[in-house]
């Protein structure tokens, strides 16, 4: 009997590609023989758009990359501009950045957790995380006025001080956070069916993770202790005490699990930052028209998906000559094709979900 493989076009319109991602699967029955990821359906040319805008005007565009953690996207960009101009950011602004950045990370990880539950089939987990994320987003809205695309960071500081109502609300959220994480753990992580679906699936070895330049929870799930906040502390992270959760096997389950652990750690970080935050200015002295000297600068932050970097070239005009973003989601996807081979269709979804991509960031 002759059998033959067939190709299945998974996406761009598919419920669990987290947007408009496309994978062309070569299937033998239900087993994947070859997977070809096709990104690019959400390309908006943000890097090119940035060249026609002043340095401040680029900030709202960075939000639109990883729209689930907009604060962190802002952060990487303004840090590059500050590095280029040599601006010292006031301490209070740094603390505010840490607070809103970590809140953003929590919001992003909540979606990653819930959406992964949805990918595996537990839709209730999806609604639980979205329910709790609303409270997290409420805090950010209180600060920045928007719920997703915050545009809150400015070159040299932040747009506005934390409002007075923020502190009690944030403390209440932080008090609830461990309970929320416990709920996710009870509903999804501890579930035997979920474990059967994700354990030992899509294993990334530490060597391969490093070779493919993966970062973030995707890399740390393999047990590589690489978190920029620890390795190369920027902002005030060196004053904050937290742990970096690590996985052991590098499978989908580990990648998923450490996101929940990371949320708990984020809670700790915000708690400390709220305790330590000093009074003072929130904005460094920055000229009205930002005109960095000729040169280039590269700055990176640990975003919720991995190492997010921004490379800026200035020609001395008020507009950047060239902006390039190192988007962690995109680079983490590099290993996807190899990772999917030999697994079932359902595992492709599980593996893709465990990498936690945001299409706005992948296609930029």
């Amino acid at each position: 009997m002759k059998t033959q493989t067939y190709s299945l076009n998974l996406g761009p319109q598919h419920p669990s590609t987290h947007g408009v991602f496309r994978i062309i699967l070569e299937l033998d029955g239900e087993t994947v023989v070859k997977a070809t990821p096709v990104p690019g359906y959400l390309h908006r040319g943000i890097e090119k758009l940035a060249e026609a805008r002043t340095y401040t005007q680029v900030i709202p565009y960075t939000d639109r990359m990883d729209y689930l953690a907009g604060m962190l996207m802002n952060w990487g960009y303004v840090q590059a501009v500050e590095k280029l101009m040599g601006i010292e950011v006031p301490e209070r602004a740094e603390y505010i950045r840490v607070i809103v950045g970590e809140l953003s990370r929590i919001a992003s990880h909540m979606i990653a957790t819930g959406a992964y539950g949805g990918d595996i089939g537990a839709l209730t987990a999806f609604t639980y995380t979205f329910r709790d994320r609303e409270y997290c987003i409420d805090l950010l809205e209180m600060v920045s006025g928007s719920r997703m695309t915050f545009s809150y960071f400015r070159v040299g500081g932040v747009a506005d001080d934390l409002p007075g109502e923020f502190y009690p609300a944030a403390r209440k959220f932080l008090a609830d956070l461990p309970g929320m994480c416990d709920e996710y753990d009870g509903l999804i992580t501890g579930n035997e069916i979920f474990q059967a679906r994700t354990k030992h699936v899509g294993v990334i070895t530490p060597e391969m993770g490093i070779n493919y330049s993966l970062s973030g929870p995707t890399l740390r799930g393999s047990g590589v202790n690489y978190d920029l906040r620890k390795v190369r502390p920027y902002s005030v992270y060196d004053r904050l005490n937290f742990e970096v959760p690590l996985g052991k096997n590098g499978d989908c389950f580990d990648r998923f699990r450490i996101r929940i652990e990371e949320m708990r750690q984020c809670g700790k970080i915000i708690q400390q930052a709220l305790d330590q935050i000093p009074e003072g200015s929130i904005q460094a002295k920055v000229p009205k028209v930002i005109k960095p000297p000729v040169g280039d600068a590269y700055a990176e932050v640990e975003s919720s998906k991995g190492v997010y970097g921004c490379y800026l070239v200035s020609d001395g005009s008020p507009k950047p000559y060239r902006v390039h973003f190192r988007r962690p989601s995109f680079i983490n996807l590099g290993y996807l094709a190899k990772l999917c081979e030999g697994w079932k269709i359902a595992d492709v979804i599980a593996i893709l979900g465990s990498i936690d991509i945001v299409l706005g960031e992948v296609d930029c």
């Binding site: 805008r53 401040t56 005007q57 680029v58 900030i59 709202p60 565009y61 939000d63 209730t124 639980y128 329910r131 609303e134 409420d138 809205e141 209180m142 600060v143 920045s144 006025g145 928007s146 695309t149 545009s151 747009a159 506005d160 409002p163 709920e183 009870g186 509903l187 999804i188 501890g190 579930n191 035997e192 069916i193 979920f194 474990q195």
Partner: protein, 157 residues
């Protein structure tokens, strides 16, 4: 033990079944937005000096304004925001030195037609002569979205 996680999950969902719900019955009850909420724009024409900083600050060239010189002062005759292109980043509000442009808490800006979305904040003729006290003219109609529907200026991209 196998099955523990399965039972735990059932416990959690059972608990939630009887628990308080987190939904707001939206059209019937609405939540108060935060003071900083980025809603519909509002322009205080009295304060506006038609300097054009907001239009310059905008990353997407959303703001279109027309002004006429009346009595050595700039007089704003037209202020239209192409809300369909707006990012709601707040750079224009931030750039306003006179606190004239503000965000409000109004969040329903939805329209049936894309062309109706355009937000015309000021649309008025310039006062003819300098002698006529401009004060009487200034409480101009700040046209709301609904009214702006018909008169939305036809503009290139």
């Amino acid at each position: 033990m196998f099955g523990q996680g399965l039972i735990k999950g059932l416990q959690i969902t059972w608990g939630r079944l009887l628990d308080k719900k987190h939904t707001v019955k939206y059209p019937y009850e609405k939540i108060e937005m935060f003071p900083r909420f980025h809603g519909r724009f509002e322009l205080d024409v009295e304060k506006c000096i038609a300097c054009g900083l907001c239009a310059n600050a905008c990353p997407n060239k959303v703001i279109e304004m027309e002004k006429e010189k009346v009595d050595k002062k700039q007089f704003l005759t037209k202020y239209v925001m192409r809300i369909e292109y707006c990012l709601f980043c707040g750079l224009c509000v931030e750039s306003c030195n006179k606190d004239a442009l503000k965000f409000t808490n109004v969040l329903d800006m939805n329209q049936y037609r894309r062309s109706w979305v355009r937000l015309s904040l000021v649309d008025r003729p310039a006062p003819e002569a300098a002698e006529e006290a401009p004060k009487e003219e200034t409480p101009a109609k700040t046209v709301k979205v609904e009214a702006a529907a018909g008169q939305a200026p036809v503009k290139e991209g």
